[in-house]
């Protein structure tokens, strides 16, 4: 990783730059806000505000977890199916799937959620908030996961497929014992990225009538007129997501090196 520790910017320039940034930040805070530790604690980390509210926050966390776990499992399965169908190179199926893929990659999750949850009832199709969230998140992420699996499977050298057939293994066996296990390993960083995306997107469902973590925090914060609940919920999100992000970045590095 230290391929580029050859200094383009000599140390003294870097030192000045860092100092400059700090000075500017300090001046900004001074000029636009009030730095006062006690005050900061009172605003952002006010535990009295949180008293008795942890229950609501935790139930929000639980719902977020439910959403995330269900969505991750379903989107991975669906993604694998999509990839397998795509590999068959059947023109009609392929066109349908590519259409689905491009559509899902182009639609913002928020827009899709609102259409499904607020728009469809006009047609008498009512999905609950949980179902809407799961459906939209699963379909969108399955598209990306499908692409990842597909590129993983297709990257496996053709000779292995041929050798597997030559041994008398059926295409299903080839997929099951040879292609998918290897593809999975190759594709794991992208998969992990998508799973993290799923967890992050559960926060968007706060727009729907479901009390997941972000919404719970918003409710308490508005009621108590204090942003501490939001800060607390952010901590909770980061508690789960930062380790996962670090793990994913490690996986990505690993992959790049073993090429």
């Amino acid at each position: 990783m230290s391929i580029h520790t050859n200094r383009f910017t000599p140390l003294w320039v870097q030192g000045l730059a860092a100092l400059g940034v700090l000075l500017i930040a300090g001046w900004a805070l001074q000029h636009y806000g009030d730095i006062d530790l006690e005050r900061i604690r009172h605003i952002f980390f006010n535990m009295e505000v949180m008293e008795g509210q942890w229950g609501l926050l935790m139930s929000g966390l639980w719902i977020t977890t439910e959403l995330a776990v269900v969505s991750i499992i379903l989107s991975t399965i669906l993604g694998l199916l999509v990839a397998i169908f795509r590999i068959k190179e059947n023109k009609i199926i392929n066109v349908l799937l590519v259409g689905y893929l491009e559509f899902c990659r182009a639609t913002p999750i928020l827009v899709a959620l609102i259409v499904v949850y607020f728009g469809l009832p006009f047609l008498n199709i009512r999905f609950s908030a949980f179902e809407s969230g799961v459906i939209v998140i699963v379909f969108v992420h399955a598209a990306y996961i499908g692409e990842a699996f597909r590129s993983g499977i297709m990257a496996i050298h053709r000779t292995q497929t041929e050798a597997s057939y030559a041994l008398g293994m059926t295409p299903r066996q080839t997929l099951q014992y040879i292609l998918v296990p290897q593809a999975f390993r190759m594709v794991l960083p992208s998969l992990a990225n998508q799973w993290i995306g799923v967890i992050k997107d559960t926060a968007v469902t706060s727009l729907l009538a479901i009390t997941e973590l972000l919404k719970a925090a918003q409710i308490i914060a508005t009621w108590k007129a204090n942003p501490t609940p939001l800060v607390m919920s952010t901590f909770l999100y980061l508690l789960i997501l930062i380790p996962l992000t670090i793990l994913t970045m490690k996986l990505e590095r690993n992959q790049k090196l073993t090429r």
Binding site: H157, T159, Q160, E162, A163, S164, Y165, A166, L167, G168, M169, T170, Q173, Y177, I178, P181, Q182, R185
Partner: protein, 249 residues
């Protein structure tokens, strides 16, 4: 030299044609392979040798023509090739070992999953086969820990594990460094001595002259020579063959 059994044809190829788009790669090939024969297929690159051998187990789909394996027509649309391929083995130029499995697992996989052999039996067979190709101490190694020659020998053991009636070799030594060619050829010669029916696409003169019983010369998609080694080598009928052999030798 080989004991061939002229009364038992293993493969009958009748007017095999293969087009890649508009490229006519195999032109109405017809020949018969008998049990126990060791057939070397030689010819200039692009002549269709690899395509020919790959059509025999339909890894490459023939455009037209018939191929009979034993008494079954394997070019029939309705036939389940996976079943047929159990009795055919193929060794590839770039080995095709499964990188996520150890050598032993590579060898055991197909017998267990396809022939439904018990794991214990497959393990014993696997150990025996690896020993036969001289790699019993590499059973737990992964392909990326093995040299090219070792990988190819594992590939041969893997093909043998299915107890095939015929073995196809698609340029088995072409991707190997010269030092490793010998070890693979030795294994192949051992197979010849055990009476295995083999079809080998290769440039290795030593094997062709010493171990094979018959030579097919494939040029521009046609078989221009077909006969016992001694005949073809010493007195080829066609100009083209002489030319080709000259370059090779």
């Amino acid at each position: 030299m080989q004991q061939t059994d002229p009364s038992e044809p293993i493969l009958r190829i009748i007017e095999l044609e293969k087009f890649f788009g508009s490229l006519h790669v195999l032109k109405s090939l017809s020949t018969t392979i008998y049990k126990g024969e060791v057939v070397s297929v030689i010819g200039p690159s692009g002549g269709g040798k690899s395509t020919f051998i790959r059509c025999l187990n339909r890894i490459e789909e023939p455009t037209s023509g018939q191929i009979y394996f034993g008494d079954r027509e394997i070019t029939d649309r309705h036939i389940n090739m996976s079943e047929i391929r159990r009795d055919m083995g193929m060794v590839f130029q770039n080995f095709g070992l499964f990188p996520h499995l150890t050598a032993q697992e590579n060898v055991m996989l197909a017998p267990v999953k396809v022939r439904k052999v018990s794991r214990r039996e497959a393990q014993e067979d696997g150990e025996r086969l690896l020993k036969r190709v001289g790699l019993e101490d590499k059973a737990e190694s992964y392909p990326d820990q093995l040299s090219g020659g070792q990988q190819q020998r594992v590939a041969i053991a893997r093909a043998l594990a299915m107890k095939p009636k015929v073995l196809f070799f698609d340029e088995p030594t072409s991707a190997l460094d010269p030092e490793m060619v010998r070890e693979v050829l030795d294994v192949m010669v051992g197979l010849v001595e055990d009476g295995m029916t083999m079809i080998v696409v290769s440039h290795e003169m030593s094997f062709i002259k010493e171990a094979s019983s018959r030579v097919l010369v494939l040029v521009d998609g046609e078989i221009i020579e077909d006969g016992p080694v001694s005949e073809v080598m010493s007195g080829p009928k066609h100009e083209r063959t002489k030319e080709f052999l000259g370059k090779l030798l």
